[in-house]
Amino acid sequence: MKIGVFVCHCGSNIEATVDTAAVAEAARSYPDVAFATDVMYACSEPGQDAIIDTVRGKGLDGVVVASCSPRMHEPTFRRAVERAGLNRYMLEMANIREHVSWIGKNREANTNKAAELVRLAVEKLRQDRALFPKSFEVTKRVLVIGGGVAGIQAALDCAEGGLDVVLVEKSSTIGGKMAKLDKTFPTVDCSSCILGPKMVDVSQNDKISLYAYSEIEEIGGYVGNFEVKIRKKAAYVDWSLCTGCGLCMEKCPSKKSHDAFNEGVGQTTAINIPFPQAIPKKAVIDPKFCRQFIKGKCGVCAKVCPSGAIRYDMEDEIVTEKVGAIVAATGYDLFDYTKYGEYGGGRYPDVITSLQYERLLSASGPTGGHIKRPSDGKEPKNIVFIQCVGSRDKSVDRPYCTGFCCMYTAKQAILTKDHLPESQSYVFYMDIRAPGKLYDEFTRRAMEEYGARYVRGRVSMIYPKKKEGGDVLVVRGVDTLLGQQVEVEADLVVLAVGAEAAKGSPQLAEKLRISYDKYGFFMESHVKLRPVETNTAGVYLAGSCQGPKDIPSSVGQGSAAASKVLGLFSKDKLESDPQISQVDIKRCVGCGKCIATCPFGAIKSVDFRGEPKAEVIETVCQGCGICTSTCPQGAIQLSHFTDNQILAEVNALCQS
């Protein structure tokens, strides 16, 4: 066997702390190494061409590239060796950048370690065998999880591209957080005027099947052939009959149900349609408030429903859908503002969240667009906005910047002046972060044109004070620019709460087999270069489930995810990864241990000349190798990570 070794400088990334020439020199003494050199940028065009030319010119059988992490450029170099005429699995990488040059400055120790890692790669490569992918059919349908603006965009773009889309939304209407907004920054567009038509497009597009009030129960399968179980939650209303007339809401005697759509600022009926523009416009009974469920007698809605759609005995239903790709667009939740005890959220009715304020501003909200403070329904005069509540604060485990709160606070300050020209807004802020198109201009308008007073500094506490003509809240903070304490008597306090990962994100990530970060946001494949892909083939991300995003970014990412799905489905057949398990039929004793441990059910028992033997179902095997370390006989081996290959690496490390 003839092996070529290429040690990359990566500019100064590696060369600065690793003597690459010495590593190449050391590599020449390793078994089967026929050629070794150092190159400036192995991944660049001249770098790849050099590899290809050397493979051809020297008749190499395998290539070791010592450079960055294989998680970064393994596909690049596999393609390069393939272009040179080798099998793509005759490539090994030694990670001498992330694992060597970037974590230590001692050049001697680093060079020594890099040389050892190259040796490890050489020994592994000596055991490598050519592997060949098989192709399999693709189900050209896509599942979009989450019907917020990102999910809607992804679904519409996929449908536009000719794909069948399954859109699953957990609440009874699509629209997500954006549907709750009154206006949007920086144009002060009416939110429902721009989102509404898109929601209607979803409902009228016959390529999109919408499962509202449904959740993902289970996901099986693999890229191209996922099988998804969807739980359709019991709405206690037969949606095929419900016309959305709203008569049930008018007559329902239980009018104190928690109004989730209005963020709890108003109350609604036990049977309700969240808002007039809801898609689908269907009623749902909340059994926690419905008298029929609590007391066992009422049945008013069933009596008045003109189409007889009420079903008190309805149960959850599980449906199965087959799809080839999945877009996760589950969005975010708001930070629990009651965690800041000093702000009195939850204790003082006039301390509300920005999204609740948004509902007060909205013409379709509980107050019809009139700003009334929750405690006594009076119009507030002084309104204090407090920024960074659950954002950029390590003490509540939210050290990241949510990114859009500065903007929506500016928007709300502007809208407040429009609604109440006599009012005065105060904004307590840390910094203004307005990096988008027309964003900085917008916050300046709030200050200069609309007279919002921006105070730089944190609020230390809020306490109530009795006063004639209505109680007020005293907001005590510090103005760090003036260097003095300030107190503002506020009629209403609006907390600009930050975003956090949606509840249940880790559980969904586990079902999708994708990673999530420590805050619960889903992890992309590469922060900069693969922002909508995940490390699980066929699963893509859109919107705030990856990290807090404003509307333009969410829509952009929704479209990006859709284009990835369309790209994936542009081929009629996909290639399967040949790094899967293989059974040595002579060694297999048919004990079935591998069948019991395989998490994917990818191994079955077959009859071979009257004896039971294990057989791998190639398209189902994911290549984890759990079976290989389970088999007492060593009869089932994961290709490319066989016992011999791993032991060769162990030996390489223990030898020198």
Partner: protein, 158 residues
């Protein structure tokens, strides 16, 4: 790290591709300084790690073995890390019988986003192995090279 100023020891890490190897990459990208003793072998899943690999590595002259996989419930292959935990717990109790101090072996959970955690894991484990000093298995089995070479060809028949 003054304790590591002297000679490097031989530490082998078995890391799952999806979480811990990614975490080690993240640590590198974040330039989180670590001692250089550790050499990493990439495996698809911590469930792929046969406990006998670890025994073999320790008897072949490694002074320490570190295994790291995804956090429980966060496995790319749904449950490989839980299986690994079961096996590695059993292995831990077995190590004294073959004359290896249990401190030479450690398994951890590090996700792909936890670069800083990986740095801490490597620093702590390296210091722990340095405190134990070179492995006595080296003295028993000699300069490991031959032993390792002889057994390298066969499968798991350790």
């Amino acid at each position: 790290m003054p304790i590591l100023a002297g000679k490097e020891l031989r530490i082998v890490g078995f890391l799952c591709n999806w979480c811990s190897y990614g975490g080690a990459d993240t640590a590198g990208v974040g330039r989180f300084t670590q001692p250089t003793d550790l050499r990493i072998i990439r495996v698809p899943c911590s469930g792929r790690i046969d406990p006998l690999f670890i025994v073999k590595t320790l008897l072949s002259g490694a002074d320490g073995v570190l295994v790291s996989g995804c956090h429980p419930r966060d496995c790319h292959y749904t449950s490989g890390n839980l299986l690994a935990r079961r096996r590695l717990e059993a292995l831990k109790r077995f190590l004294p019988i073959i004359g290896v101090e249990p401190g030479r072996f450690e398994y951890t959970w590090v996700s792909a986003s936890e670069g800083q955690r990986w740095q801490q894991v490597v620093q702590r484990f390296t210091e722990q192995v340095h405190a134990l000093g070179p492995s006595p298995a080296n003295a028993i089995f000699g300069a490991c090279g031959e032993t390792a070479q002889d057994k390298g060809g066969s499968s798991v028949a350790i």
